[in-house]
Amino acid sequence: MKYIAEFRDGELARGLAKTIAATVNPAREYRLMEFCGGHTHAISRYGLQDLLPANVRLIHGPGCPVCVLPIGRIDSAIALAIQHDVILCTYADTLRVPASGGLSLLKAKAQGADIRMVYSGADALRIAQDNPSRAVVFFAIGFETTTPPTAAIILQAQRLQLANFSVLCNHVLTPAAMVHIMESQQDPAAVAIDGFVGPAHVSTVIGSGQYEGFVARYQRPVVIAGFEPLDVMQAILMLIQQINAGRTEVENEFTRAVTREGNRKAQGLCEQVFELRDTFDWRGLGEVPHSALKIRAEFAQFDAELRYQIDYLKVPDHKACACAAILRGHKRPADCKVFGTVCTPDHPLGACMVSSEGACAAHYTYGRFRV
């Protein structure tokens, strides 16, 4: 496995761990949020916390697209599959997300709904071509990483004049969520986060320049990091160095994939097909302004929301759930009353337990021996 194992090298990790230990100021705490689920997964899966000093605390952010997908959106998808008898195509990890009425896409499938797991939107397009007599809907989710492929298949569907294909668009935006976290307290300076490990794949698309305004406004350093564990370690070291020096800058650890401008072609595709929503409901965070995309009017025939006249019904998060505080760094998973009792990966109540990349699920699955 060339070009992967190199980024998981235990010896290099131990060397980095020593440097980090020598760099931290023992008199202070470093509260670092990794925004992305991919980072959360790497940190948990490789036991990265064990290589860090006790005063470096990692806070798992809301960057798991499955986790933040609100219940009402999944209800809409289930309704499409059951009431409108469409073939609903979706990424695998949305299948288990609990919806209203004890349902999930997986349970709806067991009840006879035609729900198919795909690895990409292109697979959904192929299913539409292969089943001309059936309506096919692609349940599109994800941050800026999965958005350009969705734009590309909508354009392709238009070229093919594919009348039986549409997209239920739930694409969300990273910078808006980061801003929301900083705005969650009246005084952003009081937010309990000292720096951000910036998104990997998202940044390949949007570019590191997208975080410059954020850093200037909120005075928190952002270091963009790849999803391999050594990337994350290196980014943590870079954040600690910035914090020690009193610097707040956008730095890029993931230079092998991320540029300042990002992927212009991908950005162009998204610009052509999508426009900003005024607001979008996030599971765990609630309404976040200008944080999601919808399909432009000129592609209305491919917009499942319009085609099936779906009215979004907001479903409140579970009362006992502490996700909102956990996603903002105010609480840790184990601080939640229902963590590991009524809320487990088998029966998730809140956003953070829904997917393996969620903060609570990662802690439950990989780290609960530490409690």
Binding site: G47, P229, R368
Partner: protein, 349 residues
Amino acid sequence: MKTYTRPLDLKNGRVDMSHGSGGRAMAQLIDELFARHFANDILAEQGDGAVLPAQTGLNGGRLVMATDSHVVSPLFFAGGDIGCLSVHGTINDVAMMGARPLYLSAGFILEEGFALADLERIVASMAAAAREAGVPIVTGDTKVVEAGKGDGVFITTTGVGVMPEGIDLKASNIKVGDKILVSGMLGDHGVAIMSQRENLTFETTIQSDTAALHTLVAAMLESVPTLHALRDPTRGGLAAVLNEFAHACGHGMVIREAAIPVRSEVAAACELLGLDPLYVANEGKLVAYCAAADADALLAAMRSHPLGRDAAIIGEVIADEHAFVQMETAFGGRRMVDWLNGEQLPRIC
């Protein structure tokens, strides 16, 4: 006068409802397909059940019985098919108890319309696997369900074996300090299957590891008769076996990621599909627990058997009231290896 019966059309014929109706068509299917391939003296008696010879020299040993249903999709995959899998699976279940498998039964549920040529391939593969293992199929049953109510063919096999006096493999034998061994490369079967499932256009050269493990087990028991426990990591993979044993014996376990044998192709495929090889199914591997003092002898015995060439000591049993399974990652940290949550589904990013 000798009546003429048109032979079963094994080339172009298909299973129809009459093949399960108890009439002439069913008798013909049994004669010309099952009995022909599985041929042995006990089956040739054609009774409702099999009369098995009395086991001499059991000397206080006990009988072991295990059953396993096979519903794999696709029916034919790189390195095997549902036929040999159904033989290996049940032999392995008997072998994991420390018993020597003696006989198998086979129950078939066939779907109307299933090609007889495919059925023959499957039956021939079962017969070959049984012959190679020296464990004959001595009785069986066939049912046919309407088209759409099955998935081609489902096979249930049951095996009986004898367990010599003094052999006692079970979770409650596992003690703090025991070593944990695996018999070889993990994840081959699951990845071979995943790579062939429809709508997953993904090519690999990885073959299923399906194999009968009873001779490996015999070699292990000969070397270390006080072996504590064995289990084959099929569905749920190594992680499931470790958690089942941890839960049952009440101790924790620590494994070392760097010591776990996984083919680089399997690791790469898992990486691509978002799977964890620890949770991927195997059909020709086992996990063994023994006292630390016996571990080297057991490892040597395993490595000198063709099915245990890549065997490794991967960890040990520790005192832990939570009975958690932990792993020292190759990266240098520790994490839990939890039960699989639902079905292992690929991640998207």
